[in-house]
Each structure stands twice: as C-alpha cells, then as structure tokens.
C-alpha cells in the first residue's frame, strides 16, 4: 500500500534578478566571455520546485600590488605572478578556471601604498588586456579614497560592463553616477542588516540607477566569526525577495577569501596550532567550508583566493546543480 505524500512544493511570487557581467566586442567591450548570475525562482538549488537557470559564479581575487601578509600556503600559488595583476589574473583564469576576476585595489588603500587614480586605472587595464573574463573591481573601503580613484577606474573600463564596488548607505553618489555614465554594475554593501541592504538599493535606484544593475553585498563573515549572522541575514533577504520584495531581489556576492585568510584557523601555522592539523589542508578547507555554507543561503558570486578552495567549491556547485555523487 503506497503512501500518498502531501505536496510541499512552493511556488514563489517573485524571482531573483539576473545580472550579466562583461561585454563583448559587439556590445562595446572586449570580453570574450560573459557571466550571468541570478534568475532563481525558488531557494538555492531547490530544483524540485523552481528554476535556477545560472549556477553561482566563482571570482578569484587579484591585487594591484603584491600582498605582504598572505600566509605561505596561499602565497606559494601566486608569488610568481603577483608583481603583475595581468599575469596574476591570467593564471587564475587559465590554470584555476576562474569565472571572473575580482581586482582588489588594495594598493590604493591609504594604510598601504596609497596609490593614486592613474595607477588604479593602469591595474584595471592590465587585467582587462590579459584575460577575457568579466571583471569585478573592489575599492579600498575608504570613502574618500574610493571616490578619488573610481572616476579613473570606471573610465578605464568603459563599456566593459564590470561590477564595481562598493557603495554604502553613506557613500553611493559618486560611484552610482560613474556606473551610470560608463555602463557598469554596482555592488551595494550593507553591514549584515536586511533593512540597510534594502535602504542602499533604494538610495541607488532613487538616483535613477536600475535595480537590475545591482548586486548586494550583505558583508561576509568567516566560518567561526559570525557566519551565522550573515547566514540568517542572507536567508531572510532571499525569502523576502521570493515573496515579492523587489528591493531585495538582487543577486548576492560573498567576499570570502579576505575574511577567511584573516582568521587564525586559516592563517596560523601548524607550529602555532598543532592540535588543529596541517595548515596546508586546514586553510583552504576553512575557506571552502565558509563558501559551502553561503551557497545554501543564496550566494550568487563567491570571491575566493586559494586554488584548492576554488576547485572544491566548483565541484560542490556542480553537484548542487544536479550532478550525482559517488
């Protein structure tokens, strides 16, 4: 006697926006590859009840200057190329299969080398001419400095349909104007708070910016360092979007590498933490595990650093999109 199971499938009122990054020659850019994210009509990977037309994309992080403080287990993969952001980006795409490059303008940060707008633009051009994938350009987080460098950055990447960030509740006008003028998408940052996430989107769209051109960054936390707060904020935002909130329907980006490689579980050597096992395994797995968890809450773009984390997260995405295991 077969048992009849009640139907628990849900159909939701609204879908997540799709965002396409990159522009080909025909479209006024020089990209050979475009990346589209979003479009889901249910919760992440709920293929049994909704469509998820685009898998989450992996962006690998490249800096405009050689990092000083990356631990050896991470640095060893990039130090042959990190004197040149173009070569670094090329390695990420060709060797590690990055879908996107996330160029972080760390060298422009006043607490680092405090590089100027022309150097920033130069780094952007180097990456654009070295790889065919779309580009994310992440500023310094220092409002004044970002407003100083982004005019040159946005212009240097004009027509390439990049993703530039971040705007915040307190600093959005300059970058929104630039993204409108030079046809880029924008990252809207909020401090782990659904209401502020929505507010930043409203501020941007009040300036005439299209809601479909925004990717949300609800901040990211490393596993063990407040991950559960971000997890629930992302889950709440995604549920609100599916229930119809157009001002939370944007795809989400998680900036994971920078968070994970700042915590001791990834950074500390085995000599310092013998009871936690070899750093060579522990570091990349801490990064990958942080990413696995955010995939379930609606991460559409993951910014990662370690090649092994990238490979493993790619495999997890493949399986989550429906490929079987074992």
């Amino acid at each position: 006697m077969p048992v009849a199971i009640p139907d628990v499938k849900k159909s939701w009122a609204n879908a997540i926006n799709t965002v396409t990054l990159g522009a080909t020659k025909d479209e006024g850019g020089t990209r050979t590859k475009k990346v589209t994210v979003g479009g889901a009509t249910s919760l992440p990977f709920h293929h049994f009840e909704g469509a998820m037309p685009y898998p989450p994309a992996i962006a690998m992080e490249v800096w405009d200057v050689a990092p000083q403080d990356w631990p050896e287990v991470l640095a060893e993969h990039f130090k042959d190329v990190w004197h040149d952001p173009g070569l670094w980006a090329k390695k990420c795409v060709e060797q590690y299969g990055a879908d996107l490059i996330c160029l972080r303008l760390a060298g422009c940060d006043p607490v680092r080398q405090n590089r100027g707008p022309q150097e920033a633009a130069q780094a952007v051009k180097r990456v654009l001419e070295s790889v065919g994938v779309p580009l994310i350009v992440w500023g310094t987080g220092n409002n004044d400095k970002d407003n100083e460098i982004f005019p040159a950055v946005a212009e240097a990447a004009s027509g390439e349909n990049c993703l530039l960030g971040t705007i915040t509740e307190d600093n959005y006008k300059t970058l929104i104007a630039l993204c409108t003028a030079y046809k880029h998408k924008v990252i809207a940052e909020s401090p782990c708070d659904v209401n502020i996430a929505k507010q930043v989107n409203i501020l941007a769209t009040d300036m005439g910016f299209k809601p479909e051109d925004i990717v949300m960054y609800p901040t990211s936390a490393a596993l063990g360092y407040g991950l559960e707060y971000v997890y629930s904020v992302m889950e709440r935002a995604r549920l609100a979007a599916l229930r119809g909130d157009k001002m939370l329907s944007q795809p989400m980006i998680c900036d994971i590498g920078i968070e994970v490689w700042g915590v001791k579980e990834a950074k500390a050597s085995e000599q310092e933490l013998p009871e936690w096992g070899p750093q060579r395994e522990r570091g990349p797995l801490w990064e990958a595990t942080t990413a696995y968890v955010y995939l379930l809450t609606g991460a559409d773009i993951l910014v990662l650093r370690h090649p092994r984390a990238v490979a493993s997260v790619r495999e997890a995405i493949k399986q989550l999109m429906g490929d079987g295991l074992k």
């Binding site: 990977f45 395994e281 968890v293 495999e315 997890a316 989550l320 429906g322 295991l325």
Partner: protein, 447 residues
C-alpha cells in the same frame, strides 16, 4: 506542539453536555482545551481511545529521539522551524565517524583513539565528535560483534550499529544494548526482524528507503510493530538530491504535520575526497540532518564541520556573550597595552584575533554590556565611562602595568575625557574597526 482546533477536539468528546467538566457544553469545554486553558483530563468521561488519539495529534510534529544514556545521552530531532531566524535549531547535529569491522585489532584501536581525541575548544566551548558508527562489512557476524565490543570498551561516545544482518546486530546488542545505540537500518526487506530487535533492546532504529513514499510507508510498518523512536535515512545521490529530500522531509513534518516522516533524519556522507565530504557534512548540518556519519577523522577536516554546527545551532535570540573579565593575549607584562572592549562574543573574538595578529602581548578588559557590540552598547548606556572605569578597577589591571594608559574603541572616542577624569589614567583612542588593531599596536602603541 501541533495546535488542534476546538472542533477537532470536540469530535473525540462524549457530546453529552453533562457539565461534569464545569463547562456547560462539550463544545465549550473543547474550545477551552484548544486554548490550552484546561487539560483534557478535566472531562471524567473521555475514552481511552480519544485520549490516545488526541495526545497523538498534540504531539510535536517532529519526534525527539534519544541516543545513548545518562550524561552522554544525545537528543536528535524535535526541530520546530525550517529557518534558524524563525526561532532556533534545537538539537545540534550528531557527528559520527565510521569504523569498519575489517580492520586489524591494532588499526582498530588506533582509529578509535583518534576519534576519541576529536574534541576541540573553540570560543570557550567544547565541541566534538559525538558518536562512532560501526559498519558491518562483508565479514562474519562474530567479527562485527568483536569490533563493537572493542569500540564500546574503548570509547565513551554514542554508538551507531550498522549492518544488514539481524544476527550480527543481535550479537552486538548483547554487548552494548544498555548504551542505547542506534540500529541502522531497517529496510523493506528486513524491517520485521530489525523492529523486533529494537523493541526488545529498547533502542532507536533507523529506517532506510530510496524514496520519501517508501520511507513513509516503512515508518508506519515499523511503528505498527511497536517501535516509535525512529530515525529516517533517505538514500541520497548527490548534494542536490540530498538537499531536495531533506528539505521536503522537514517541510512535511513541520508544515504538513505529516506524522509518517515526523522523525529526525540521518545521512551518511562518506567520500574519498575529504573536501567534498566536508561540503556534504557542512551543508547537511545547515539543511536538516540530525545525525551525519563521516569517514574522515582528520582534525583539520572535522574542526570546520563542528564549527559550522556550533555557528548554525547558536540561538539567534540570545545575545552571544563571553564572560566579562580580564583576558590576556600572549604573556603581557608591565609595558603591554590594555584594550577595552564589550562582551558581545563576536566583538570580543574579533578583537582577540586582531590582537593576536599584532603579535603584541596585551590585556583585554571586557566590560559586561549584556552581550551588545560597541555601538549598540553605547547607545543603550551599557558602555559608559562609569562601566569601563568600574570594570578596569575591578580587574586591577592598571596595577599590573607601568604606563597607566587605557586604549578604548575608536567608536566611543567621546568617552575619553570622562574616563580620564573618573579613572585618573591616560586614555588613548584606538581604531574604529578591529582590523586596524594590528597596525595601531605595532605603529602607535608606546608602552
């Protein structure tokens, strides 16, 4: 508790309106029972069948099943929500590591010891592996029982006994039934024998099937044989399939109150790739497994899984606080800096982590702000000059340093003057973000 309406309760009452319950009519009484104002026992005439039916209907939508006994008893299931922000997740996923019975005695003893050691202290909490799953490979039944015996002797962890052979399980139960192991797993082929074993030994029983329909059918059959402490083991093929099955099972139990699957769920995620195995485990901790069996026993692999569990099962309604006291990072001396922060766990651990990064041995004086972060605590009058001075004086830290300088969070720079006045120390304004601490301590701190 599943909520019953007055009408549903009324159907089970005698409908005599006798008034012995002190209410004028059975309907009026039913409404009061539904509102939980009075208990059903206030009706002296309600039948035993009606009581049973109503208590069944009022049972929680997902059963809580106990594995192990005494201090080491573990609760599985009893979950009430799909999303942790709606309330909280109640019973942290039990993490079990598997042990196969084809190991030599030496190898087996080593593996058991390795699993026993998989305990860690993270952010002041002990987190660890909870169980060992003994798996019967193709060998003889006696081999399985011997393995179970050694595991039971050498490990205090909870036991999962996994075999398709009821004779092997019977022999193992003679050794360890009083430990209340989970028997794994009844299938449509063997459920009669397995249910009999579970009933006799009073142990929880896993039921395994390929589809949700088969699973629901099987639980009903096993329940009819008198075993109610069940754990569902849906067969999964891949992450997407697992997520689909576990999500639907949770929804069926909680949203549809569908009793046949109102039980905790277990999954086995052994893979030859430790990263992929971790992906499975991490995701099933988030999405609805109450017990996960892993193969990997390496510390670097188990720690992130346990940390995901620690994070996800944190109660979102309770401010996460650390003890307000004086903490030392490294071995601070008379010239070491003294930093003030709040007892919100995330704030404290971020500050602690950045102080560690600076490699400058330091004191961190934690003020009790009721678990609020710096800005919230300031806005709520929990992080005041008085509170800071009182805490720092109580800890006596200024007597341990030569410099009489106190570093306060940049976000409450406004408190500088008042603290200097009340405390008599020099107050330095630190960075606004914890990330700025290493640069601050290395470049600006002068003890």
């Amino acid at each position: 508790m599943a909520k019953l309406t007055g009408i549903e309760i009324y159907k089970h009452l005698p409908k005599t309106n006798c008034g012995d319950c002190n209410f004028p009519t059975c309907m009026a009484f039913a409404m009061q029972v539904a509102a939980k104002k009075v208990g059903l026992e206030q009706c002296p005439h309600v039948s035993a069948e009606a009581k049973a039916a109503l208590s069944e209907a009022q049972a929680p939508p997902m059963r809580t099943v106990t594995l192990g006994t005494g201090d080491r008893a573990l609760k599985l299931g009893g979950e009430t929500v799909l999303f942790r922000h709606e309330e909280k997740f109640h019973h942290p996923t039990v993490i079990a590591i598997c042990v196969q019975d084809d190991l030599s005695e030496d190898k087996l003893a080593q593996r058991i010891e390795k699993i026993n050691q998989l305990q860690f202290v993270r952010v002041g909490q002990l987190i660890g592996v909870n169980a060992i799953a003994v798996e019967h490979t193709a060998g003889e039944t006696s081999r399985f029982a011997q393995t179970v015996k050694l595991v039971a002797e050498r490990s205090p962890l909870a036991l999962v006994l996994s075999s398709t052979d009821s004779q092997a399980l019977k022999a193992a139960l003679e050794i360890c039934a009083e430990r209340r192991p989970l028997l794994c797993a009844a299938t449509k082929e063997n459920f009669k024998e397995f249910a009999a074993l579970a009933k006799e030994a009073q142990c929880p029983l896993a039921v395994r099937a390929a589809t949700l329909e088969e699973l629901a059918e099987l639980t009903q059959q096993v329940k009819a044989l008198g075993v109610e402490d069940l754990v569902l083991q849906p067969e999964i093929s891949g992450l997407a399939d697992g997520l689909a099955k576990l999500t639907q099972l949770r929804r069926l139990a909680l949203e549809k109150n569908f009793r046949a699957v109102g039980y905790p769920v277990m999954v086995s995620v052994t893979s030859s790739d430790p990263f992929l195995e971790t992906a499975y485990a991490a995701m099933f901790v988030c999405k609805y497994a109450s017990l996960i069996v892993l193969n990997g026993a390496e510390r670097w692999q188990v720690l992130p899984i346990l940390t995901v569990r620690q994070n996800i099962f944190t109660d979102p309604q309770v401010p996460n606080a650390v003890e307000a006291k004086l903490y030392k990072v490294g071995e601070p001396g008379p010239h070491s800096p003294v930093l003030v922060t709040t007892n919100f766990a995330l704030t404290y651990f971020t500050v602690e982590s950045e102080v560690e990064n600076s490699r400058v041995p330091s004191y961190i004086a934690v003020v009790d702000t009721g678990g609020l972060g710096v800005l919230n605590a300031y806005a709520d009058d929990k992080l005041t000059a008085e509170a800071i001075v009182k805490a720092v004086k109580t800890y006596g830290v200024m007597e341990q340093v030569a410099h009489k300088k106190l570093i306060i969070p940049g976000l409450v720079a406004v408190l500088k003057g008042e603290i200097e006045e009340l405390g008599g120390w020099e107050v330095l304004v630190g960075p606004e973000e914890a990330a700025g601490i290493p640069a601050y301590l290395r470049n600006e701190w002068k003890g």
